[in-house]
């Protein structure tokens, strides 16, 4: 599934709030929600979601979130994994996540984002942004 095409105008508004971090620390406070960039309703609750990487699988494998939500992946396995979006251009790539390491990405565009693990590509997941 290819990510939605970007509109330069719209993305310039929200690109400023895209944050990528890899750290062992918990994610910082939620970023501000995008303002009036789309007609989609804002998240009704906390704009954060978690994906646990465990037993060579993304849990949950499919996640539906609102625009502006920050998703944090955490690796609970003994071996390294990645969360890497499929398609071109690549939207996100965690790089190597060793045990307990985290990666966060804020989704600023609606769309279906299929992703996989670069070390174990039979591990796949989907983030649907509405």
């Amino acid at each position: 599934m290819k990510p939605a095409k970007y509109s330069l105008l719209a993305s310039s508004v929200v690109s400023a709030i895209i944050g990528i971090q890899v750290s062992s620390n918990p994610a910082p406070a939620d970023p501000p929600a995008p303002v009036a960039a789309t007609s989609y309703p804002p998240a009704t609750h906390s704009a954060a979601a978690n994906v646990r990487i465990d037993n060579f699988s993304f849990q949950p494998r499919e996640l539906v979130i609102a625009v502006g939500t920050t998703v944090t992946w955490q690796n609970a396995d003994d071996v390294p994994h990645t969360a890497t979006s499929k398609g071109d251009p690549q939207v996100f790539d965690s790089g190597a996540l060793d045990t307990d390491e985290k990666f966060s990405f804020t989704f600023s565009k609606p769309g279906k984002y299929a992703y996989y693990c670069k070390v174990h590509p039979h591990m796949t997941g989907v983030i649907t942004v509405k």
Partner: protein, 320 residues
């Protein structure tokens, strides 16, 4: 229990003064003896059965330097133990092949350690193919800088040694591209391989080494190579083809016509049998003093004139 023949394809009753006693400790590697163009496998600690062989070579695999979890806290130590077993062989191997996952995370310090340990092996030449752990972080850049000399493309190569043609394939580059859930050799490398073997006489013994198994061991865990059949089709006319792989951290063997497939154990940690655990992660809940029981011994007996291999596995605990 520790001495049964697991595979004896021919049952031809050939008396070869008994089988070669071949023991491979899981943390070490395999010794391959080449005699008359046919490959026989035996293991460390075997008697001087390499005497009379034209030459021997050793396969080590999956050293995963940098890994340090659970009971597997000294992967450099077990790697070094493997090397000391090699250096204690009565006949030094001519070549040593490392079939990938040299490192755990492709870190410069990890690769440096691997290079140091490998350099301490008494042998003529070292050869490497990458595993996905050597590739996914940076598309193989650091690996190729250190271990890619004399190779082509993503790190593939071929060479001849005393009449045997060796082909080192890379089937992990496309794994990190996300193009396939299995290993993949890819068109460019396949084309190269077809040309590489085109001029060889059919009696030339072929040894193929690559990280991910070149047959489908367990698709659900990605243990196979999506285009291996294409590669093997180029080798159909050859009388003796031996395929050596790593990746799955356990010994599996299959004989199919003229082709013998064999996977080596890791020098770092074992993985579960296909489908025997929820995931292919390192085997857990093994107490440090029990590791030897979960690693093990493999004896491989070779019936020379038929080119078949007979494998007998036992654990290190059995030996004690």
């Amino acid at each position: 229990m520790s001495n049964y023949i697991e595979k004896d394809a021919n049952h031809d009753g050939i008396d070869r003064r008994g089988f070669l006693k071949c023991m491979a400790w899981a943390g070490t590697g395999m010794v391959w003896a080449m005699k008359g163009g046919l490959l026989s496998a035996r293991a460390f600690g075997a008697d001087a059965s390499a005497q009379g062989a034209d030459f021997t070579f050793v396969q080590v695999s999956d050293s995963h330097v940098g890994f340090n979890k659970g009971a597997y806290t000294d992967v450099v130590g077990t790697f070094q133990t493997a090397v000391s077993r090699i250096n204690a062989l009565p006949k030094a191997p001519s070549l040593v092949l490392h079939t990938g996952d040299l490192s755990h995370l492709s870190k410069p310090a990890e690769f440096d350690t691997v290079a140091q340990v490998m350099k301490s092996i008494k042998t003529e030449r070292l050869f490497f193919v990458p595993g996905e752990h050597d590739y996914f972080v940076d598309g193989g850049k650091r690996y190729l800088e250190r271990f890619g000399k004399g190779t082509m493309g993503t790190g593939w190569q071929s060479f001849d040694y005393r009449g045997v043609h060796f082909i080192g394939l890379v089937n992990v580059a496309n794994i990190s591209n996300g193009q396939t859930a299995l290993g993949e050799i890819g068109h460019e490398q396949l084309e190269w391989m077809e040309k590489d073997v085109a001029g060889l006489g059919s009696s030339t013994p072929i040894v193929v080494f690559a990280h991910v198994p070149l047959w489908t061991v367990y698709e659900k865990w990605g243990w196979g190579t999506v285009d291996s059949a294409q590669a093997l089709s180029y080798l159909k006319r050859f009388g003796s083809v031996s395929v050596l792989n790593g990746h799955i951290h356990q010994i599996l063997q299959k004989v199919e016509g003229n082709v013998t497939f064999h996977t080596a154990r890791s020098t770092a940690f074992p993985q579960p049998a296909p489908g025997a655990a929820p995931s292919p992660g390192p085997m857990k809940n093994i107490a440090a003093d029990k590791i030897k029981g979960y690693l093990g011994l493999t004896r491989v007996d070779y019936v020379e004139h038929t080119g078949t291999l007979a494998t007998t596995d036992s654990t290190l605990a059995d030996e004690a």
